[in-house]
Symmetry: C2
Subunit: 368 residues, 2 copies
């Protein structure tokens, strides 16, 4: 049995309050998914993630394929067991990192040859290979192998990229359906691993619509919108999401990949996006950029040197309950590892609280 | 009222099971004190330290004087409040770091001029200034300003260094007694800040004895043995401790500074040392060196790549309850901050458990 997506409430603007039942967790949506690139949400222990209310986290296929390797993770019982995370997980296809991190890429119809950003070693990813790796990792949700179209892209280039992504989506789905039962926990848990297709098409609305239509015909377990937050102005991000959402099946989860700032995840959730992920909360935290109910704050600024307030007086997270801005600034100025850790916990708590507030509004019909 | 030191049991070998009552905590001794160099035990949050059973931690005066500055910490209510640590604390005198970290030191009878290891700025520390800084920080225990004699040192050099340390001890104590009530929490809590003297004398037993005798005449609140673990062979460390302990008052706490490995802290506690501190558990952890009931382990070794056991099957710490050696190795190999964090938590837990076992043995009279 694949995922179950139960819509509890729908707003006039299209926002959906729903429950997404996966093998390892029934996830309350709209949901923000912290990114655990190399099998760890940077600087945040798993028990803290649990206490923050994280119900589903990401793993990056490209990184885990290179280190420690998907074969090793499969031998040790899959990614959940390897990192000791009992709740839901999602893996990306590896495509995005192949295109953004690796060197000397050579894209052919068959797949993409690339060199590792770590040691220059040569690798070849195809849709079939991405499925093999993701089945070995065994996340609750796997993603079709796609090419993330860069921004800006000429129409000709976006068309060709979309054609390739659609061909790869078909091959991903066929291979996945034939092999998905190999996932290490498939025999133990009630629900199977799922595969989502990814809408591409650059910033061309007709290509985006074409992409969505063709993917829906293939019948994936859910649908993602990829290739956003790649440098385009925000109004284009919003436009692409708004154009694509109505073409996706209402009864399946919709995932916008790699967004965004707090105000973005709130706005997209209210438009009808069910799932989002982003490295912003943790990456910004490690650089001292904190999100609060009163806006953004660079905790390294001198103005906080003797500030005994918590990061956000309206925040109930464990960091705001215990530590002052002055202390957090000191930790950042002295490059202490505790600084990035505590900042990450606060920022994730702020993202989690944002989504909880949105879910409350969608449940009650307020704020639509 | 200064500290209260209540001996519950004494072993034939001289080990003491006691309770050390300080302003912020009654500490069970023998105790190991994690080192919080810059106002944070590296990579370990305060709530985790509490759950590990840490009752007293260190702060380094040299580091905190440079950043964020003792004046700032005093304005914010003292070190306990600044770092949000409600239990006991001890600050060193700054002397050790001045001699080990700073550049262009110039020692005179009055004090030591040095340049900051951070920006080359010029500073001057005297016994009086060290007391001012430590009173501003407001730890439960402050340390007399001393010169840590290097190893090896010619007898002439050790004699001169000891003479200076004794003169500085006198000045430290006089200044401290005259000003200790300025500590920020002195009016709120029942017990005052305390000052310990530091025995020096290199590896010359007669100088060590002379140092102890002269310090005891001055009547400090407790006594430390410094200048050990500076490169000497272990039998010399043991010899110096064994020679000095009988000369220190039985009814006051005895502290050996900057030691050691787990087998050392166990041995010294059983000889009659009440307090120890060391960066080894956290520093080793960040390099992948772990302490277990079956010996030491470099978690980065290939042999642990697929090892699903916890670090130490006999350890009940939160890391051993949740994570495998394979995962911890992966975190170290990928330089993930979580690796150093989890390793530090385990190593500290191992040190805490070691001391708890020793306390149990001293209480019951077993294993003496």
């Amino acid at each position: 049995m694949s995922l179950n997506f139960k819509i509890l409430n729908t707003s006039a603007a299209g926002g959906r309050r729903a429950e997404l039942s996966l093998a390892h967790r029934t996830v309350q949506t709209p949901v923000f998914m912290p990114v655990g690139t190399q099998g760890t949400v940077k600087a945040v222990p798993q028990d803290v993630l649990e206490s923050l209310g994280a119900e589903i986290i990401l793993g990056n296929t490209y990184h885990l394929y290179l280190r420690p390797g998907h074969d090793l993770i499969q031998r040790l019982g899959g990614l959940h067991k390897f990192i000791s995370w009992p709740r839901a997980m999602l893996t990306d296809s590896g495509g995005f990192q192949v295109f953004s991190l690796s060197a000397l890429r050579k894209v052919t119809e068959d797949g993409v040859e690339f060199r590792s950003h770590l040691d220059g070693s040569k690798h070849f990813f195809t849709p079939e290979h991405s499925m093999d790796v993701q089945i070995a990792l065994g996340a609750d949700i796997a993603m079709a192998f796609d090419e993330c179209t860069e921004y800006p892209a000429e129409r000709k280039r976006a068309e060709e990229s979309l054609r390739l992504t659609l061909a790869w989506a078909r091959r991903s789905l066929d291979y996945f359906r034939a092999h998905q039962n190999q996932v290490v926990w498939a025999s133990e848990l009630g629900r199977k691993q799922n595969l989502f297709g990814i809408v591409q098409g650059g910033m061309y609305t007709d290509l985006r619509k074409e992409s969505a239509k063709r993917l829906v015909e293939m019948d994936f377990d859910g649908y993602a919108i990829g290739g956003l937050s790649v440098g385009e102005p925000r109004h284009l991000t919003v436009e692409m999401i708004a154009e694509v959402l109505p073409l996706l099946p209402a009864d399946k989860p919709r995932y916008v990949m790699g967004v965004g700032f707090p105000e973005e995840i709130e706005a997209y959730a209210k438009m009808g996006v069910d799932m989002m992920d982003c490295v912003i909360p943790t990456r910004a935290a490690r650089h001292g950029l904190l999100f609060t109910s009163e806006g953004r704050m660079n905790i390294k600024n001198l103005q906080y040197a003797e500030d005994q307030n918590p990061i956000d007086p309206n925040c109930s997270c464990m960091v705001c309950q215990r530590y002052t801005r002055a202390y957090l600034r000191h930790l950042m100025k002295t490059s202490e590892p505790l600084g990035g850790m505590l900042n990450s916990v606060h920022n994730l708590a702020f993202y989690m609280a944002t989504m909880e507030r949105v879910r409350g509004q969608l449940s009650s019909g307020i704020g639509n």
